[in-house]
Symmetry: C3
Subunit: 171 residues, 3 copies
């Protein structure tokens, strides 16, 4: 614990240096239907396919969840690990704990007809994220060996909308 | 818990495909004064206004906090929920717990004249984020029904600086 | 706790408005060797140097970890604080707790020859992030006084690869 900071040697390697490339802006929506919660839906292949379709050789892709109870995360797709992560999310903000947000006797804001008790999902989402931004190199996301992009359902089964937004250059 | 991963059907829909658009780079600073901690300051309207002012039709906006004890998060602006989220932040890293960072008898680094005991705020910030990057479609952030952008004050009331940085094309 | 939301006054200031700048796409890889876990490796100077080398005057830099057990975070580089943050990470997902991911008697997916028990590192990573995206103004990251960019090793000492990806305009 007393070695959390060190002077490590850092090596650099230039991969890309492009000027005057033709600008590209490209966006697709992904619609995925979750079947449980929490659920880690692996959308990596679709995201890579969209990046390829964009025509951008270099740039950035932002994967953006349009929801406050569904998040975007990059982690490993190993089924037992997904159970561990579901358990940790539950520890942080359990489904059946007390949430003011779930007190429909007091709440007056943002109530709609299908309102469910989902305070836990919002609180879990606070610690995950709405988006992830990744580099594009040679027309694809240069993901590491174990990196997969997940849409994380935190609330209940339903259709979710994710935007995959690319900005870059043709190279 | 044994259904955290599934093969869900995913549908795609192309929204934008622009090449040769005129590049846009635009940035504004927002200065907001917090009045409590934790405090969730809803800056959505200002961010949308800045995106509109940028002239970018497609691209990305990054909302960036210039602070290590104030974060950027997207979640729902429902007052009772904000209380739930404040409580969960407190559980993760309570204000009055022991932090090495607050031990001014031992600490020698980064001390300034106004130094306050804010170890909890740094530790909460670790689990939130410094920025959020969002797509721009048709000149605005395509936020979902409940999505609002918050500057989250974690430390104590003061003026905070947020950058809203746009990069994109006129379309 | 009843003042988590307020109507604060927000002031705006335009910093940049560029059109027709020459597009820039630039990327370098950083290779850093960690020596402990958790370890906060301060890569700020290298990232700033890469942004300068890119030639981009305005735009965005994404710092991206190519790993599922090493994260990117922006926080303060104060040695005692780094110990606090290491402790909080341990509370969230302790090294020696039970993880399904570590049960090699049951696990069948993504096993390689060097497989180690690292469920805690994946679970900690879930609450940190794979990347951070930051604005570029006048050819550098406009970091606040205490902001430093860290590669956070969560697993065990080894070489890690970080991409620093710039997209912007020459201005």
């Amino acid at each position: 614990m007393d070695r959390t900071l060190t002077d490590v040697k850092i090596r650099r390697e230039q991969l890309v240096s492009i000027t005057n490339g033709e600008p590209v802006a490209y966006c697709e929506a992904l619609f995925a239907t979750s079947s449980a919660a929490p659920e880690f839906i692996d959308i990596t292949d679709e995201v890579q396919s969209i990046v390829a379709a964009s025509g951008a050789r270099y740039g950035q892709a932002t994967v953006f969840s349009g929801h406050t109870t569904a998040a975007i995360r990059v982690n490993e797709n190993e089924p037992l690990l997904l159970q561990d992560m579901a358990r940790i999310l539950h520890q942080i903000a359990p489904l059946h704990a007390d949430y003011e947000h779930n007190d429909f006797s007091r709440r007056t804001v943002n109530l709609d007809e299908e309102e469910c008790a989902n305070g836990h999902a919002h609180c879990q989402h606070l610690f995950l994220s709405t988006s992830e931004t990744m580099p594009i190199l040679e027309g694809q996301l240069p993901l590491g060996q174990w990196q997969r992009v997940f849409l994380v359902e935190l609330d209940r089964p339903r259709q979710r909308r994710v935007l995959v937004n690319v900005i870059g250059v043709r190279g």
